[in-house]
């Protein structure tokens, strides 16, 4: 008999891989939601591990707000090409043109909310019955409440007061026509786990995560990158800063932090010492106390 002991990172990894295989077994048309952020990249890595040497049994789905960092898009295309994966892209711009959703106005306008409409349309169009997402419970208090297999009704809505029981590793994917599931295999990971795992597995990331020079504007304590989608208000001005991003989303709501960290070890030390959560740099969550819960109820991922 030998001593078999696994570290917590490997335990989290096997939990996530188990859930990905469970999704492939239980559902007919799953997709992997892919934004190009580090959580998506980890999800993609885990999915490849789960089915290797076969190719992924599901395509990636990217909801493109049109406000992405070019670096993220380049990284996404390279990754897809190298691994021979399938990629579906749906554009928020199209939903706006079709008149399904109105664009927000003002200096803080964001397409974050609008992408829910595009996502729900894509799910209907592609007849998706399970959408794998890289949401983590440590990100936000409403996410902390969600099951691994999260049921969505006909209108894509989440009912937080009536979630299904989910015992041990038994996942219930039963649903009626038109309903679907959001599945979160990395629910139990923390930001630190993600970074440790990236280091452990030597996973490539877009260079936005590492320190670089960039023109930014300081808005409510976070640095928003210069882009055509951000209008300055009266007292604001562009300035050059040495920053990196802790999360990557839309250019309109993802703030950078000042940091000299140019490698994974430095980033990990920085995060361990950090006294704010990564979503502290996200403007979309600061709108109200229950901002995330409200968006999730409407069908946000």
């Amino acid at each position: 008999m030998y001593n078999y002991k696994i570290s917590h990172l490997r335990e989290l990894e096997s939990e996530s891989i188990f859930i990905m295989r469970e999704v492939a077994a239980q559902f007919e048309k799953p997709v992997l939601l892919f934004s190009g952020g580090k959580d998506s990249i980890i999800m993609f890595h885990l999915a490849r591990k789960a089915f290797f040497p076969a190719k992924l049994p599901f395509p990636l789905l990217h909801i493109d707000t049109g406000h992405n960092f070019q670096e993220t898009l380049d990284f996404r295309d390279k990754l897809v090409k190298e691994t021979g994966s399938r990629l579906e892209v749906r554009y928020v711009e199209d939903s706006i043109k079709q008149g399904k959703v109105a664009e927000e106005k003002g200096p803080n306008a964001s397409r974050n909310k609008a992408q829910t409409v595009t996502l729900l349309d894509a799910i209907e169009e592609l007849q998706v019955d399970a959408a794998l997402g890289g949401g983590r419970r440590d990100e936000e208090k409403a996410r902390a409440k969600e099951r691994f297999f999260s049921h969505r009704d006909d209108f894509g809505q989440w009912d937080p007061k009536n979630q299904r029981p989910e015992l041990w590793n038994i996942f219930n994917g039963r649903k009626n026509m038109g309903e679907h599931f959001r599945v979160f295999p990395i629910s139990n990971w923390t930001e630190l786990d993600v970074w440790q795992y990236i280091k452990l597995e030597n996973i490539a990331l877009p260079n936005l995560y590492f320190t670089h020079q960039r023109e930014v504007v300081n808005r409510h304590g976070t640095f928003l990158a210069k882009s055509p989608y951000i209008q300055l208000t009266k007292n604001e001005k562009w300035e050059m800063k040495t920053i990196r991003f802790r999360t990557i989303g839309d250019m309109t709501c993802t703030g950078g932090v000042e940091s000299p960290a140019d490698n994974l070890t430095d980033i990990i030390n920085e995060i361990a010492a950090s006294r704010t959560t990564e979503r502290g740099t996200r403007h979309d969550d600061k709108r109200s106390e229950a901002a995330m819960e409200d968006r999730k109820k409407e069908g946000y991922f």
Binding site: S7, K161, P165, Q196, N269, A272
Partner: protein
Amino acid sequence: MTDPILQNYDKSELLRFTTAGSVDDGKSTLIGRLLYDSQAIFEDQMEAIETASQKTGNEEVNLALLTDGLRAEREQGITIDVAYRYFATPKRKFIIADTPGHVQYTRNMVTGASTANAAIILIDARHGVIEQTLRHAFIASLLQIPHLIVCVNKMDLVDYDEKVFEKISDDFMGFSAKLDVQDIRFIPISALKGDNVVNRSQKMDWYNGPTLMYLLETIYIASDNNHIDPRFPV
């Protein structure tokens, strides 16, 4: 300087535990206290619950708001569904499932408890062992959670009286003959004031046992799961 948590990060074990007990026995407060005293609450989270506490008219910061993340839970001041929280010490990494105490939400409690290595059962020192305590202890046993930690909470409201603690421990022991749990421990605590949670209490000299955090860090879990014998799913 490297953070002590980081040094052992690739070797540290994972402990999943759950809190159980009746409504208002202080489950969410205890978790808030554990996170707060082990410095796992971030500034922006603290800021958010301070604002929220003031809005509802609390004098002290209500740590329960950390885990009660749903709108309905905040409005009613109760926990409806299980919430998961994460923290790490240099010895271990923890996943906490904060479960609801109300009878009608027991199914959500079961969801949270099913994956736990250890269950903390909270008992209000003023009320002693009540029906819901027994129900949760029994469910924990039914789910085959191998370790039970019974915390007699709100000791500050009974003047840190040893007799109260002894009486509740005896009552629970009497019932536990019906349970299929080998490992049961008792700790007198005050989640609100922080006695015996992470730091040893100054007010209960009569208690010589470990603090809750020490127990969580040292409970032996490696033999709980059989990773050695191969299994073939059919």
